[in-house]
């Protein structure tokens, strides 16, 4: 009892102006490091600032040379023009949006489930052929995508998927990066947790859904970011011919390539294309931080 009282007394006394976050960090080191980080961050933030600013510039400023980074008289004219052009297109714009959203949502969701299922058994069970399969997946990541374009096209046309959404969605299910990422994260889950669940009578599927997946939440949120970014930016130009099945990015880039008169709209397009991945990114990033408190694994 005595000891406890002493500690309580000491606590308010220890409060300082600058609090050390952790006992083994020097304050000078902290200041120096974060100052450097801030400097680098300014350089890294440049593309975002530049892209957003040029979408706000009126036409005469866009052609100013040498170009200025910040807009002098910011306007939203470019966005307005863009919406007018979008309204005039032959296929309604909501259709393009539907196409992209459908491809992105279905592709990401399927990829998440299929890749995590595979990653789960590869990470946590020892079965003949598992290690070999995983090695093949890692190696396949390294083969250059350009030369596989033709065989890929042949396979998809044999399946009869040319000019359908599946030509983009189904190959995205099996992207090797997702499996690799999930497997690496699942390796951190202690085997004792899975065995405990097994003894309690959980089936393999239940272990996967109830125990493994909640514990690797940061991993699958990261996977969602990668997958959405990838599918959202997919122009689908090789596999899809009909105009009404093209994606939003494709349509926007058509507007963008409309020559010098559309420079302002092109800048607006860049911003719109960028915004969706960033929003998804912010949403999932805040989710990643939430899991920190809830996961209490101990081996």
């Amino acid at each position: 009892m005595k000891k406890k009282k002493e500690i309580i007394k000491e606590k308010p006394y220890k409060k300082k102006l600058i609090k050390r976050r952790k006992p083994n960090r020097s304050i000078i080191g902290d200041i120096f490091i974060y100052f450097m980080l801030a400097l680098i961050a300014v350089a890294m933030a440049f593309p975002l600032v530049y892209a957003i600013n040029s979408s706000l510039k009126p036409l005469d400023e866009l052609f100013l040379f040498p170009p200025r980074v910040f807009a002098q008289n910011p306007t939203l004219d470019n966005f307005q023009d863009l919406f007018v052009t979008m309204g005039k297109s032959w296929v309604t714009f909501s259709r393009y949006i539907f196409n992209t959203v459908f491809i992105t949502v279905v592709g990401t969701f399927g990829h998440l489930i299929i890749a995590s299922m595979g990653a789960f058994v590869l990470a946590k069970y020892n079965f003949p052929g598992g290690q070999l399969f995983f090695n093949i997946v890692v190696v396949a990541l390294m083969f250059n995508g350009y030369v596989t374009a033709i065989p890929n096209y042949l396979i998809i046309s044999k399946l009869g998927w040319i000019d359908t959404y599946w030509a983009i969605i189904v190959p995205a299910f099996a992207a090797p990066m997702g499996l690799f990422l999930m497997k690496q994260f699942m390796e951190g889950i202690p085997m004792s947790l899975i065995e405990a669940a097994k003894i309690d009578g959980a089936s393999q599927w239940k272990i996967f859904i109830r125990i493994v997946m909640p514990n690797v939440k940061p991993a699958w949120l990261t996977l969602i970011i990668f997958s959405v970014q990838n599918l959202w930016n997919n122009k689908a130009a090789t596999f899809i011919y009909s105009e009404e099945k093209k994606t939003l990015v494709y349509a926007l880039q058509q507007i963008q390539s409309g020559g010098i008169a559309r420079t302002g709209q092109a800048a607006a397009v860049t911003v719109i294309v960028m915004i969706v991945p960033i929003v998804i990114f912010i949403l999932s990033e805040s989710q990643i931080l939430e899991t920190m408190a809830s996961s209490g694994l101990k081996d």
Partner: protein
């Protein structure tokens, strides 16, 4: 000798039976893996294998492929001087930007991890921005313009360091360094994000145990606690760094032109693109891809071995 062989075969059969039993036991595992495995086989393994097969043929996309043995590889190594330039450039870029970008990704992710929540989210977005923004790196060509209006030239001339503008993107001496700067600037991508997520999963109690055991400064903590906990993500980051740094082509093509002066900025993938999609010699392009593939696998093996020693 005969007995020896017999024994060997008996042993073999026994091993096979054990494996078969194991396979039967882990039926559930195969069921879990099956959907991924089937799709992966169809859309990744099959195309890669057929590309490797195509590398032994002459194939111009229109006519059916003609088998020519190792001729593609022989031409590639013995006759194609531009390919050798490409190999040299790719190695230079990979050796410099690969490890640097990798270390940068980890360091930044690690430093950011200790910041308060909202600052961290903003910091992650800012550092990841060049990867989201697609081809914004094209504006670097405005910076490094060859005339006196380019920012870098104007800046240096105002300071009096140079008296005539430098042709940054046309002079072979400057092309590669500029490309490397731009690639480094974009290198906080996939690996960085996975590190950020991975650092969230490190068990807090281990750090507390570390303080008790006398971990003196942040670097000791990094080496003895954080890095060993991050090993799986480090492996992932390394593989991604290899694929990205050996696969460089769009930055050099956008900044230095395609083809660049004297082929000074040609990388292996640019060469592949040239043969595959400008000259339609798919067989030759496949041979280039296969060679690059082999180099990358070797590189990966070496790095995995290095990473195995982390934290010991």
């Amino acid at each position: 000798m005969k007995e020896y062989l017999k024994k060997y075969f008996v042993l073999r059969r026994h091993n096979m039976q054990v494996t078969w039993k194991k396979m039967k036991q882990s039926k559930g595992c195969y069921l879990f893996l099956a959907p991924y495995a089937i799709l992966f086989l169809a859309f990744y393994i099959l195309p890669v294998c057929s590309s490797i097969c195509l590398s032994f043929t002459y194939y111009n996309i229109l006519e059916p492929p003609k088998f020519i043995g190792l001729q593609n590889y022989i031409n590639l190594i013995l006759q194609d001087d531009i390919f050798l330039t490409g190999i040299k450039n790719t190695f230079l870029i990979a050796v410099i930007t690969g490890p640097l970008g990798y270390i940068m990704s980890f360091l930044f992710a690690w430093l950011i991890n200790e910041l308060p929540r909202w600052i961290r989210t903003i910091a992650v977005i800012i550092f990841y921005a060049p990867s989201i923004a697609g081809n914004v790196f094209v504006i670097f060509s405005v910076f490094f313009r060859g005339d006196a209006y380019g920012y870098v030239n104007a800046f240096l001339m105002n300071l009096g360091i140079i008296d005539a503008p430098i042709l940054w993107l046309t002079n072979p001496d400057y092309m590669l360094p500029i490309c490397m700067i731009v690639i480094l600037w974009m290198s906080l991508g996939t690996g960085f994000l996975s590190f950020v997520a991975g650092l969230q999963g490190v068990d807090r109690s281990q750090f507390e145990a570390g303080y008790m055991d006398g971990v003196k400064n942040r670097w000791q903590e990094l080496w003895y606690i954080t890095l060993p906990n991050m090993k799986p993500m480090l492996m992932f980051g390394a593989v991604m760094a290899i694929t990205q740094s050996f696969g460089v082509c769009d930055v050099t093509m956008a900044l230095c032109g395609y083809p660049s002066t004297d082929y000074a900025a040609r990388t292996v993938v640019t060469h592949l693109f040239d043969y595959g999609f400008s000259r339609f010699e798919m067989g030759y392009a496949s041979a280039i891809a296969t060679l690059l593939f082999l180099i990358m696998i070797l590189c990966n093996k070496a790095i995995q071995r290095l990473l195995g020693r982390v934290g010991t």
